[in-house]
Symmetry: C2
Subunit: 249 residues, 2 copies
DNA sequence: TCCACAATTTGCGCCAGCGCAAAGACGTTG
DNA sequence: CAACGTCTTTGCGCTGGCGCAAATTGTGGA
């Protein structure tokens, strides 16, 4: 067997393989290659010809773009089970972002001919890919809307909450974001500067909403951040509101 | 025959039907319905269940989103030949944007079962749809990057140039943007206010870069706008630079 | 253990862009 | 042609957020 049981499990649960029957899934795994990268290495760079699609099995991957003048923008982080570089199913396209390993990473890989062949055998696979791309469009549209209409503090709050949902780990004190996350990183995710992020965080800490060490963030009162993200007034009483409010979709 | 020859031509040239042979294209047209809307009417609204995909044949369509607090954001304008609502090929999804007719519009329409059937007959059609979605992802990623890193004047310049490429019409004086385009509209496209757009335009007019009447914009010196969009210094000599510079990709 | 480097905080100055109000320009309609 | 509604401009005040420099606090490695 090429892969460990836990690797197989993660792959089996990946969104792109959802609802595949074993007869469809087995050939997929058989055709896969494992690609392991260390911290800071790149699966691919923006503008490279897109020839390989991946499913992340272990670790975290950071998606970035670089502006012409060298400024970096972080589009987001991937967690195990997420597909990336799926654009490689198309001929003659380039990756629109760079994919960088954050810590040690393992990912399954398929080149275009292989993946195309698999999709022909399994329409559901192609459909899933389509659905994922549709989701990405939606996500970026929302991102555009956020950047257009919200101010920095709200955007930072949203970014933190997004990360918490993806990579959050419950601890005694609250939800720890399980990523090395600097002020600079958050600035690049929200279109601001590390200084402004630092000030925002200091304010939040003063209010007891979050705690943070260097490159590490813990959310103490998620509800408080949601209030900020939604631009709702933050009353003293809010701490007693039911936490199952569906404000956060 | 259901459609006029010019309608057929526009459809034939639509990106989504690119490289289809007649044997593939004919059933597509046969299955199409024509949907005509007047100014301000909506093909669909954000959050509606997505059941119909369209190809615009005549007129312009505006794509918008509304923020929870009622602010509108313009994602872009469509011109004849563009597909929209393509997300409807998937089951159980909702439109992520609203599509509003700007002036009188005609569009071909297919419901999901029909379009899915067509795609099964014509893999190329499905592939084109995929490619279009990939292009949209790329476009929105760039938009996010712009909003994160550029300042208002640059973003407005880019928006104007984008519109000019899509809907520009050459006149004696320059390139006329063939759309009713208010300051408010530009503000909603670039994430700023109509006041700021107004001030930016006044400045550009003073410099002779553009001319504008109410709801109407003409670019007099495209190269000048490109310089602003690229954040390059605008020297007096620039007017003499070769216009085929590949700065604008 | 100590050093060198990376991340963070903080003070200070500044200005791009927002918000609002009011006035002006333009089109449209009865 | 008069009156109304919409779009646009402009003045004014204000502030959120940027930029930079310098101090401070970790942290990982030699």
């Amino acid at each position: 067997m090429k892969f460990s049981p836990s690797e197989l499990d993660t792959a089996r649960d990946a969104v792109i393989f959802r609802d595949l029957i074993d007869a469809e899934f087995d050939p997929v795994i058989t055709a896969a290659t494992l690609r392991e990268l260390g911290d800071g290495a790149y699966y691919f760079m923006e503008e490279d010809p897109a020839n390989t699609a991946y499913v992340l099995i272990e670790g975290k991957v950071k998606l970035t773009q670089i502006t012409p003048d060298g400024q970096q923008v972080i589009l987001g982080y991937l967690v195990p089970g997420r597909v990336f570089g799926i654009i490689a199913i198309l001929k003659k396209v380039t990756y629109p972002v760079s994919a960088e390993a954050v810590g040690k990473c393992r990912a399954l890989a398929w080149d275009r001919p292989t993946m195309n062949g698999l999709m022909e055998q399994s329409p559901r696979l192609a459909l899933n890919a389509l659905r994922i791309m549709a989701g990405q469009i939606r996500e970026f549209q929302n991102r555009v809307r956020e950047l257009s209409t919200q101010r920095v503090e709200q955007r930072v709050a949203r970014a933190v909450l997004r990360l918490a949902r993806q990579s959050g780990r419950k601890t005694e004190q609250g939800v720890l974001i399980d990523l090395p996350l600097s002020r600079q990183d958050l600035a690049e995710m929200t279109g601001t500067t590390l200084f402004t992020v630092s000030r925002v965080f200091k304010e939040w800490e003063k209010r007891g909403l979050v705690a943070s060490k260097r490159q590490q963030v813990t959310i103490l009162i998620p509800h408080g951040l949601v209030m900020i993200a939604e631009d709702l007034p933050l009353n003293v009483d809010d701490a007693n509101l039911p936490t199952d409010s569906n404000l956060w979709v």
